[in-house]
Amino acid sequence: MLTLPPAVQELKSALNRLPGIGPRSAERIALHLVQSKQDAVDLLIRSVKEAKEKVSLCETCGGLTETQPCPLCSNSQRQQECICVVVKPTDILTLEKSQAFKGQYHVLGGQISPMNGVGPEDLRIDSLEHRIRENPVEEVILALGSDVEGDATSYYLAKRLSALDVKITRIAQGLPAGSELDYADELTLGKAMQGRAALPHD
């Protein structure tokens, strides 16, 4: 049986390590690349290299950026008195797309996870405290996921930040917009019921 040339095999396993690319796709892409024109391959190499060189984490918020500090942190038009805490840099992109928030961000870089050996010292909590001490804010919004680790990390943060005299809130949990009750699972409905809000009537 004819097997892949060793160099192609190596490329394939490198591609296979990328998210969303299984062994079959990896093989297809590897074979495609070795048969492509030199220009196309050079362009790919150059753009991967450049992107990697240019993009780093913002020293202030921890988001992806080409400048220090990042455009979001240096934008004076944005609200300064509110920091939204998220788990990973891409969460900022998600929230920005929603245009629901106009303040500052802070990336934790993970959640407390004893099973995976991640403790608070591995997260960007010190830098968050430092930021708040340097530039006092009115509110810290915790926008973590609603799994066990997200809940535990949020609680831990709330407790730790309480020493800083700042309002701490957590984003609400409940029904997805535009959906009916039938489509929500029981836990979500339970949380939606707990977090219900009064309607204004005037």
Binding site: I112, S113, P114, V148, E149, D151, A152, Y155, Y156, E186
Partner: protein, 344 residues
């Protein structure tokens, strides 16, 4: 094959495939084997996977199809792929009686916890989710306790999560047992002619307030590097005339007790859902003496009244001939099922 409402007797020699039929019905209800084996062990030798399908006719009619292989598993309900298991469970409810049930009385507390959990998961939609979340938090908390010097604030955060899910489990179990106990007592009295009084008591490791008691127990947890109290350490105490059945009961009493628990499970489900679950009885008759058999059979026969179904496997030698009326007999040999006769 079509099974009418009523009592179905599956007759055949050993190793002909009688239990297979019960197994496939149970599989459609729970997606598990009642023999406690993994799906891989339910595949016929030399085959890639297995398929089970059925039309369930109750207040409405539902078609379930389940295909399992090492590479893929497909579960459809009325031709639609099932996205959430909580939408699926409840389509078919089954209670199985088998020789392993004896472990409910004799075995470790884990087996009695599973008995409570299964019943609550079958009747309360959130219970299963809470149980799964609880297991996750427990793993995390134990991992923390195993660290050389755990961060006490982190430990506190996970303890809080543990209480959130654990207290819900404790409350659900605490409410269940007083409802189940009289059903089990009644079933026990009917099966056995003896006058022993069955007592079923929930034995939680948490007396009232999980949060408080977890805090009090923190030093011990840290010393043992593991969470020592909580629903994962609960038990269910089974007593006959104030004596622990596991220690003082005779073999016959233990068997009767196991049957009574299963009967109570079926009755409880009937009460909640409004119609009886399918009863699957695997090789239980052979182990009972004549007196207990004649106590149990009328209970099973009552399934007719509510248009329920009972499936019972038996070998030729020990099928309960006293069970004369209204039953359908099927002959099972070498994996083939043949309608034998109907009596009414």
């Amino acid at each position: 094959m079509k099974f009418e409402p009523g009592f179905h007797l599956l007759l055949g020699k050993n190793a002909q495939g009688k239990t297979n039929i019960l197994e496939s019905i149970y599989l459609l209800a729970t997606l598990r084997s009642f023999r406690g084996v993994g799906a891989a062990q339910m595949i016929r030798q030399g085959q890639k996977g297995f398929f089970v399908g059925a039309e369930i006719i109750g207040s409405q009619s539902d078609t379930i199809k389940y295909y399992w292989s090492m590479r893929e598993r497909k579960l459809t309900l009325n031709q639609d792929p099932v996205k959430r298991l909580s939408d699926f469970f409840g389509t078919l409810r089954a209670v199985v009686f088998c020789t392993e049930d004896l472990q409910l009385v004799k075995g470790a507390p884990r087996i009695r916890r599973r008995f409570m959990d299964l019943l609550l998961a079958q009747t309360q939609p959130t219970y299963l989710q809470y149980l799964q979340q609880y297991a996750k938090v427990l793993c995390s908390r134990n991992a923390l306790l195993k660290q050389y010097r755990p961060d006490l604030n982190v430990l506190d955060s996970f303890s809080r999560e543990l209480v959130k899910y654990g207290q819900a489990l404790i409350d659900a179990r605490r409410q269940l047992i007083p409802k189940l106990s009289p059903l089990a007592r009644l079933a026990y009295r009917r099966i056995s002619a003896d006058a022993e009084e069955l007592m079923m008591v929930y034995k939680p490791t948490v007396q009232t307030d999980f949060a408080e008691e977890l805090k009090k127990n923190m030093d011990r947890d840290r010393q043992y590097r593991s969470t020592l109290i909580g629903p994962h350490r609960d038990d269910l105490s089974l007593k006959l005339n104030d004596n622990l059945a596991s220690q003082f009961g005779s073999e016959g009493q233990k068997r009767t007790l196991a049957l009574a628990l299963k009967m109570a499970q079926a009755e409880y489900l009937t009460g909640i859902v409004g119609y009886p679950p399918v009863l699957l009885i695997d090789d239980v008759m052979g182990e009972l003496d004549r007196e207990r058999r004649s106590g149990l059979l009328p209970l099973l026969e009552r399934a007719h009244h509510a248009k329920g179904q009972v499936f019972m496997t038996c070998t030729e030698e020990n099928w309960p001939r006293e069970l004369g009326r209204r039953l359908t007999r099927w002959q099972v040999s070498q994996g083939q099922v043949q309608w034998h006769e109907s009596q009414s």
